[in-house]
Symmetry: C2
Subunit: 373 residues, 2 copies
């Protein structure tokens, strides 16, 4: 990007009273920012009103300094980028959301923004020990299956999710709520460096933007907007994670939630989401199945924990009876003659198979094998 | 009921090869059992085939003995009843199910079968300590709110549910899988006496019927059939409780499930039910709200635990801002002028209200209060 164009984008973002929505309206009317700032007052006023037109024609305070600072930041590391709404590398999924950020500062692997499977993992800043373990284990399993883990660099669930992805050797995106020349919280300096090295740090906020309470919930729309699905690990009612989940649902993203004890305040938010239609998940496999992806299965053996479960034995136990049943309706007596089981055992097994959806009970005491689904 | 009619019902139930479905077909064709047994062979054969017609014309083994035993049982306690499909006291909800039992032996308060709010609580015979606590606490709260608790007298969740209802001074129905002259498991003798005194024991099985594995899953259709809703407290995958839940759903009953840790095998069944559409519940209040009933709220104060939660503070916190917002769309600046909050706080509160469904964000940075739902 030419310095002049970059400077004009920064000026637009910095102009008081110009939020993202107004900026997009101006860009739609006049094209790229340099063209916008070349407009006469009357033209600007026609779109944005006289007050805003006046502000757009006044250099905003601190602009020149910001331009120099941003240029120096970009030159300080070749893995830093400033993606604008007009940039061909701007993530298309984010562009299609209702409120795409004007600018994305990126430090690290810009290609991670286009990773084929991006999953957000979010949750409480004050999780239970088990909640943090879940975030780490799900992130490990999902990153191990090839997903890029998106989160917000916050304390608690966010940090555990980033760490799990890093430990699995996978990619991870941290969407932060400050300027990228700052790290918040301060204790995540090392984590931020590791994320920048193995994935990327992303911020819509101008360099030097301190942590402001209002910026963090807004930042969440980028976390969900960049992701195909959002997993909420632990969340209290009225928490930012629920806002992320709601925004995700509005953006058409899948929402997943991990259940927990009805006595845990940190599970309440997840339970509320499940009631509202979020998918209850017990394992990373549940998420991947929902997104039509799949974990690597070769030579993995049987692993306990969040990556999978063993349901094979049930299938095997039913097999002899299913074979005896064949594919036509069959009464109990005939079935008993075929398989030699006593009535009680036979009825119990048929009920199991019926529950598993493998056998249907027909009127008149007949049973029939159901087509595989 | 005349002895003769009772004896004919018992004979019908005892005749080999006559299951409940066949019996209903015969009753539909010939009327009450005495009329049925007065039919000539040809008439019976036309409905049931020659083999079954022959068996219907032969006194089944042990029938006379069963008649005497049943008469003696009925005379032994004036709170014992034998309700047949044709009895005006037979529960109408059960009659409307696909497979209503021919006979219901009842010991205790027959009126409990017509209690206005009947809720089943079922689950594992091997629950966790917390699962048993949940069953007891939910049963206490629901019985305290006037519900009759229906369960199966089994070890574990069933027993805890009956006990919770009894402790609350409420009514409870135990639908058992043996003849009512037996108690299974044997250690529930005292519990069965308490249930008969305060509610009722119910069985479709003939006196003397021992505990047979196949009878227990079938018995579950009566538990759900007699109830407006079924709560599954803890259940492994492939458990009888899931069969009850599935039958309940097929019978048009509400199914409720309590979530738990993703590491607990006893929560897996509940999670599977929730995925299939069961309502996730955290409290007895959740169930009562779903069934449009309500807990007594007067002078109860704030009680923690499964009976309710305190959501009032959120409402109060939003109130000032909601008043400032009025009922017309309003921009941030105007709202800030009205309520005097700084931008960050204002945006954070608006997001909270938005999440609570109390405020809608409109295009162009406007906010509007939503109509109360």
């Amino acid at each position: 990007m030419l310095d002049e164009e970059l400077d004009a984008w920064l000026r637009l973002k910095l102009t008081p009273g110009v939020g993202d929505a107004t900026a997009r309206k101006l860009l739609a009317a006049f094209g790229l920012p340099p063209a916008l700032f070349a407009q006469p007052h009357a033209a600007l006023s026609a779109v944005a009103g006289p007050a805003l037109a006046g502000r757009l024609q006044t250099e905003p305070e601190g602009w020149r300094e910001l331009c120099d600072r941003t240029q120096a930041w970009l030159e300080g590391d070749k893995r830093r980028r400033l993606l604008t709404l007009g940039d061909p590398d701007y993530p298309p999924e984010l562009l299609q959301t209702e409120d795409p950020p004007l600018l994305l500062h990126v430090e690290g692997d810009t290609a991670a923004l286009r990773h084929p499977l991006r999953l957000a993992i979010v949750g409480s800043r004050n999780p239970t020990a088990q909640g943090a373990d879940h975030a780490r284990a799900f992130a490990q399993a999902l990153a191990g299956a090839g997903a890029c883990i998106v989160s917000g660099l916050a304390l608690g669930i966010d940090a555990a999710a980033h760490e799990g992805a890093l430990e699995a050797g996978g990619s991870t995106l941290a969407i932060v709520g400050t300027g990228l020349d700052l790290v918040y919280p301060n204790k995540h300096q090392t984590l931020a460096r590791r994320i920048a090295a193995q994935g990327a740090l992303v911020s819509e906020y101008l360099l030097g933007t301190p942590p402001l309470a209002a910026n963090f919930p807004r930042r969440n729309r980028i976390i969900s907007g960049l992701s195909q699905g959002v997993l909420v690990v632990e969340a209290a009612l009225q928490s930012g994670s629920l806002i992320t989940a709601r925004q995700a649902a509005e953006q058409g993203r899948e929402v997943f939630a991990i259940p927990g004890s009805i006595h845990s305040p940190q599970a309440r938010g997840c339970h509320a989401l499940i009631r509202q239609g979020a998918k209850l998940v017990e394992s990373a496999q549940d998420i991947l199945e929902e997104l039509h992806a799949s974990l690597p299965t070769a030579d993995e053996g049987h692993k306990p924990g969040p990556t999978g479960r063993d349901e094979g034995s049930r299938q095997q136990r039913g097999d002899a009876l299913l074979l005896a049943l064949g594919h036509e309706p069959c009464g109990l007596d005939a079935l008993q003659a075929r398989c030699g089981l006593d009535t009680a055992t036979l009825q119990a097994r048929l009920l199991e198979l019926e529950f598993d959806g493998l056998v249907a009970r027909l009127p008149g005491g007949q049973y029939q094998r159901r087509a595989a689904t």
